[in-house]
């Protein structure tokens, strides 16, 4: 780690400077010791927060034997992708299929949320109609309903719709949350109303204004919402765990929870499954880090 290797090189110099005295060298010494402390702190954060992930990746490249041993090595003694091979098309744990299922569900739900939430948000932000305040209040109130209140009845509703154990069950109900509507409504309210007025006065209809003026201006908000929806759906565990049953129909998260019993001590395969489920979201995060963090902090402060 770079943080710790800095230490011996810089510490003695600090002492020498201090011994020389003088305000300027003292200042510099303080700056050096500050950067040493920062480096140590940063190194600690990296070890604590990325260490477990590094361990997951390292284990996934071990042989089944090595991963089951109590003798532990960070670098696999004989790196292999067999763990991935075993886990990708195991009949009892078809991780490749789960990956596709998750991708389809998360993408479809993001699109569904973008379409429905943006339209509703536009109406709530810009259109005047009877009962708007009441509707806004009701939709807002449901943000405070804990998800557990919906679990059992939604299971029954999804059964009535014939969606149990199907893709629809993990795409549609989750798109009903009020979060997207409020997220976009806030953004639409912040847009200057004059642009829309000008377009309306030029004879554009509501739809054209919405499609040609409002949506293009809202690209960053739409992208953030799509990203957050995708992440939430990709990582959802409780709901798909109960509404999907057949091995081939599972998504990644509930699927992963069955790896333990399927592969028992073959930790390489289990961790390979974890890596497969994490790589897309970590890449997503690495690319659009700013968006995700900003989106989360803004959504966090929405209430």
């Amino acid at each position: 780690m770079t943080a710790t290797s800095d230490l011996p090189a810089t510490l003695p110099r600090v002492d020498v400077r201090r011994a020389n005295g003088g305000p300027r060298s003292q200042q510099r010494a303080r700056a050096v010791s500050r950067s040493v402390r920062l480096a140590l702190f940063g190194g600690l954060l990296v070890v604590l927060f990325l260490g477990p992930l590094v361990w997951m990746v390292s284990t996934s490249f071990k042989s089944a034997n090595e991963s089951a041993q109590t003798e532990l090595t960070l670098i696999p003694s004989d790196p292999t992708v067999d763990g991935y091979r075993r886990v990708l098309d195991a009949p009892q744990a078809p991780v490749a299929r789960w990956f596709v299922n998750s991708l389809v569900a998360a993408t479809a739900q993001s699109l569904l949320v973008l379409v429905t939430a943006s339209m509703a948000a536009y109406a709530l932000a810009r259109l005047d109609f009877a009962g708007k305040k009441l509707l806004t209040g009701i939709v807002l109130a449901t943000l405070f309903v804990p998800p557990i209140a919906l679990l059992v009845p939604n299971f029954v509703i999804v059964d009535h719709l014939g969606w149990l154990d199907s893709r629809m069950a993990v795409i549609v109900p989750g798109a009903a949350g009020a979060f997207g509507v409020f997220f976009l409504r806030q953004f639409f309210l912040s847009l200057p109303v004059e642009l829309e007025e000008a377009a309306l006065l030029d004879g554009c209809g509501r739809w054209r204004v919405f499609l040609k003026v409002v949506l293009p201006l809202s690209r960053p908000a739409l992208a953030t919402l799509a990203l957050l929806t995708f992440l939430t759906n990709w990582n959802d565990f409780l709901w798909p765990l109960y509404v999907l049953f057949t091995a081939d129909n599972l998504t990644l998260q509930p699927g992963l929870s069955t790896l333990q019993s399927a592969f028992s001590t073959d930790n390489a395969s289990i961790m390979a499954g974890g890596v497969i489920a994490s790589v897309p979201v970590l890449i997503f995060f690495a690319i659009s880090q700013r968006f995700v963090i900003e989106g989360v902090s803004r959504s966090g402060l929405k209430g």
């Binding site: 927060f49 009845p153 009903a176």
Partner: protein, 323 residues
């Protein structure tokens, strides 16, 4: 809140139909018939009605029946499911209240760490130094993982026999610790992964809150001779109060909803000691299909969660009023 922003222009327009007045142009072009508005609202309202509003009512309805998912008859039993829940020694009350107790223990053990650690990280990473955005991203990164990955990973790290943590403790001469199978260690095995997973989220919200504290307050404090510790106590903490109440509220609620960690890491062990309320409701309602009972339990949990949020909200209001 957003409400106040939207409310003012709306009310102005209602008062002056036809849109003559101060905000004439906005009012005029924005007044539309219910029809147009409905077209925009309809797709979302179908989803909202079916999967948010209907289940709230339906859940209450189910809880008043002996609702076995697999049986055709679902007889009305009135409040029996609730009475049973509050009768000690009945089939459903013992396991349910044990799971509520486990949930309470998890809240008490996890929330302080989930507040203090992210707060310290936010204060540390709010200072200007090269690479601080990278470190923020590093701390936040685990949050983008799913709970199943977090569960599998920590189940393995904390494994009593082949886990890496016991391995290194062993090298320090410490005997293997039964992290996933015995209390109090099982609580450690639930709190630490949760902290690792979600600390970054709370940190990001604290960071946003720190941006709202005026720089001048720190300067004034410095001129008054306040060191870093006093600045933290007398400027940072008071300035963060609204954000703090918010973070505490969402953290308590998140911890009350804990499911994946005990499901995957401790599997409720030892015995049923770490089986939390959501695990119990899922088990009763969606594995044993005793949906009436499970719905009654959901209602009790829901009401307690809402009571917690209301308490926190009113606490926030009170503070605001005092200022």
């Amino acid at each position: 809140m957003a409400e106040t922003v939207a409310a003012t222009p709306t009310r102005a327009r209602w008062a002056l139909p036809g849109g003559r007045g101060r905000r004439s142009s906005a009012g005029g072009v924005n007044s539309v018939g219910l029809g147009t508005a409905l077209v925009f609202l309809a797709p979302y309202l179908v989803l909202f009605g079916t999967f948010i509003v209907a289940p709230v009512v339906y859940g209450l309805w189910i809880s008043l029946h002996d609702w076995d998912f697999l049986l055709p008859g679902k007889p009305w039993v009135g409040l029996e499911n609730y009475v049973e829940l509050f009768t000690s020694g009945s089939v459903s009350s013992g396991p349910f209240w044990a799971s509520m107790r486990a949930t309470g223990i998890f809240i008490v053990l996890s929330v302080p760490f989930l507040i203090i650690v992210p707060l310290c990280l936010a204060v540390a990473l709010n200072r200007k130094f090269p690479g601080r955005n990278l470190f923020r991203a590093v701390v936040f990164a685990p949050y983008v993982l799913g709970v199943a990955v977090v569960g599998l990973l920590w189940r393995y790290l904390l494994d009593p026999n082949v886990g890496v943590i016991n391995h290194y403790l062993g090298e320090l001469g410490i005997d293997a610790i039964p992290f996933t199978t015995d209390t109090p260690w099982a609580w450690f095995a639930l709190v630490v992964p949760t902290l690792w997973w979600t600390a970054g989220y709370n940190m990001v919200i604290f960071l946003a809150g720190l941006q709202d504290i005026p720089r001048e307050l720190y300067e004034a404090a410095r001129i008054d001779g306040a060191g870093p510790r006093n600045q933290f106590r007398h400027v940072t903490l008071p300035g963060l109060r609204p954000v703090m109440v918010f973070v505490i509220t969402i953290t308590i609620l998140a911890s009350a909803n804990v499911f994946g960690q005990p499901y995957l890491i401790t599997q409720g062990q030892p015995g049923r000691e770490t089986r939390t309320a959501i695990m119990q409701i899922g088990e009763v309602g969606l594995r044993q299909f005793n949906m009436g009972r499970a719905s009654a339990q959901s209602m009790v949990l829901t009401l307690s969660l809402m009571a917690v949020s209301l308490m926190c909200l009113s606490f926030l209001r009170e503070r605001k009023a005092k200022r």
